[in-house]
């Protein structure tokens, strides 16, 4: 499998445990360039474990299976290497880091990426121009730049901040872990616009969500249902609507049968 075939992420039979408990149990997923995938599932189905293991979150143990990213063994890469190779995780619960201001982290992240790609670092002027443009698009107050990373941010501000980082880093593969949760409708639209702006031929987005609300604004190419640690059903947009209508219980009953 190579990048030439348009394959960005290829997960095969992935089994992951945490704290001695099996959470992902034979999960397979293929994501190609230009695609937006939605992964839906009930609480506890393994959604955050999936994004976590792909981004390199510590504490998750890969028991078997593999994940290939742009032709490379993703699971062998350090988290920062994954980030520099263009993988981005928007956290469900963005971490607060008092004492490190937001603008510092943005610049450090962008420069880490640019160095990795052999590009010159942006000077302060270029950088601030870039950030200001993205901030405006996310309808974020410039004051947030000089606050501690996520420190005292409201839930909505934290989620916008994640999308702001994403828009600055322009990832090849963006994993959004319940970015829609806790957002009011206005914030949801802003976040959705930020995500839609990331859609492009060379890139892919995986949205992990509990509800299909976000999918009204970011229309996915594929929808998957995650239950019991594996993908139990895949389909188009209409699958999300069906889930919205019928909930998850019928699937549980069906897959248990």
């Amino acid at each position: 499998m190579s990048a030439a075939s348009g394959m960005i992420l290829d997960v095969r039979d992935l089994c992951v445990q945490a704290g001695g408990r099996r959470i992902l149990d034979g999960l397979s997923l293929e994501v190609r360039a230009g695609e937006v995938h939605a992964i839906m599932g009930p609480n506890g189905s393994g959604k955050s474990t999936l994004t976590g293991v792909l981004a390199g979150r510590p504490g998750l143990e890969v028991v078997s299976g593999r994940a290939t990213y742009l032709g490379r063994d993703l699971l062998a890469m350090a988290p920062e290497e994954r980030a520099r190779e263009g993988l981005f995780l928007a956290f469900q619960y963005p971490v607060e880091i008092p004492g490190v201001n937001n603008v510092y982290l943005l610049k450090a992240a962008l420069n880490a990426l640019r160095r990795h790609r052999g590009l010159p670092e942006l000077d302060a002027f270029e950088f601030l121009n870039l950030v200001r443009g993205r901030l405006a698009a996310m309808q974020m107050d410039e004051g947030l730049l000089n606050r501690g990373v996520n420190e005292g941010f409201s839930g909505g501000e934290k989620k916008r901040n994640e999308i702001l980082q994403m828009s600055l880093l322009e990832p090849t593969l963006a994993l959004l872990d319940e970015t829609d949760s806790g957002l009011d409708i206005d914030a949801l639209k802003v976040v959705a616009a930020g995500v839609n702006a990331q859609r492009g031929p060379g890139r892919a987005i995986v949205l992990v969500t509990h509800y299909q609300r976000l999918l009204e604004h970011v229309v996915p190419d594929r929808v998957h249902v995650l239950a019991g640690g594996r993908i139990v059903r895949s389909g188009g947009r209409e699958l999300a609507l069906e889930l919205e209508r019928r909930g998850y219980d019928w699937l549980r009953a069906e897959t248990a049968a």
């Binding site: 988290p79 920062e80 995780l89 004492g99 490190v100």
Partner: protein, 435 residues
Amino acid sequence: MNAAAPLDRLTAAHAELAPRLAGGPSWTRRRRQALERLLARGLPERRDENWRYLDHARLGAFSPGPAAAGDLPAWPALPLPGTRRVTLVDGRYEPALSDAPETGVQVEDLAALLSRDPEAALALLRAPGDDADDRYALVADAFAADGVLIRVAAGAAPAAPVCLTHLASAAAPGTHHARLSIALGPGAKLTLVERFSAAGPAAALGNLAAELSLGRGATLVHVRLHEHGAAAAQVETWVARQEAGSRYEQYLFATGGVILRSNLRLALAGEAAECRLLGLFAVDGERQADLHTVVTHDAAATRTEQECRGIARDRGRGAFNGRIVVRPAARGADASQSSRNLLLSPLAEINARPQLEIHTDDVRCRHGATVGSLDEAQLFYLRSRGLDAAAAGALLTWAFCADLIGRLPLPELRAAMQARFAAALPDRALLAGSA
């Protein structure tokens, strides 16, 4: 080394030195009494409750006689415009490195006072009490010949900070003892930046006995920078008393020296007296920092805000031992105490003992202590943004300090401290703007 050896060496050093010290018969008697009290009680040891984490063997290895003076190398000035300097070199007031004080401030050279008016000096300098933690102050009293007294007149509020620098020039190993007395009259206001900078190449121990008093409604902002050189050690014993409505703010940064042992015993004696004690120590190599405080709330509506943070790397060792006592008379007292500590290596060690002792119901008290390594979730968050593990760790360590440094009320000094703690990080300017 047997246990008596350090005392024997102290006695011998005292016998040799005492006849040459100024102050006449009354001071000879006072010094001898101090020595006798010390001999009766012995130096602090590991088995003493408040001294158990200190490396006594290493402290006892410093020669008790005076360190031979060496040349003073240049030391960087603090970025504090207009500061009035008061400088002690090897515990001795150095007029050539001191400025005339502002109106309302009096700076008195203890050695000069001992020669001129030994009886006045006796009255001005309290003899150390019988507190078990005062034994190094007894040592200082037994050898007392130098130091400085700073007085701020009632209502005076000098515009510029006083910068009190303790320099050690030590060309050969030894100990220098110094006495310090700081008193603010009622309503006086002072910013005092105190700085320890051991410049000499040899292993010198500084032993400082200090007293502090704040009159009614007085305010003292006291920044304390322990920036000793690699071979130097410091023991200090502070006894402080605050009258009604006074405010004491201490910002202690311990980043240098092989051993620092700091004792502060502070009495909030008057109604609504308040103190803020912020401390940050960073130990690496084989260094040790041991901070010990006892604050007593003796009057109603008194307040304490205490926060100590520590970072230990390599085989560095740190201790925070803080006790707050709220006496029955202290109705409506408010005390908070927190100790947060970061261990950055498996061989590093930090002991945190916050203690609250409350003898009245009408109080608001909170305390807590943590000792741990860097936060895994924060590390992962930074790494997921492309920062490598080392850079992420350095940034989080910085953040741990920056928070506290950000509360320094002197902007120029705050920026300098931030820059220093951020020294290993890229884009420092951007970072320092954060707090």
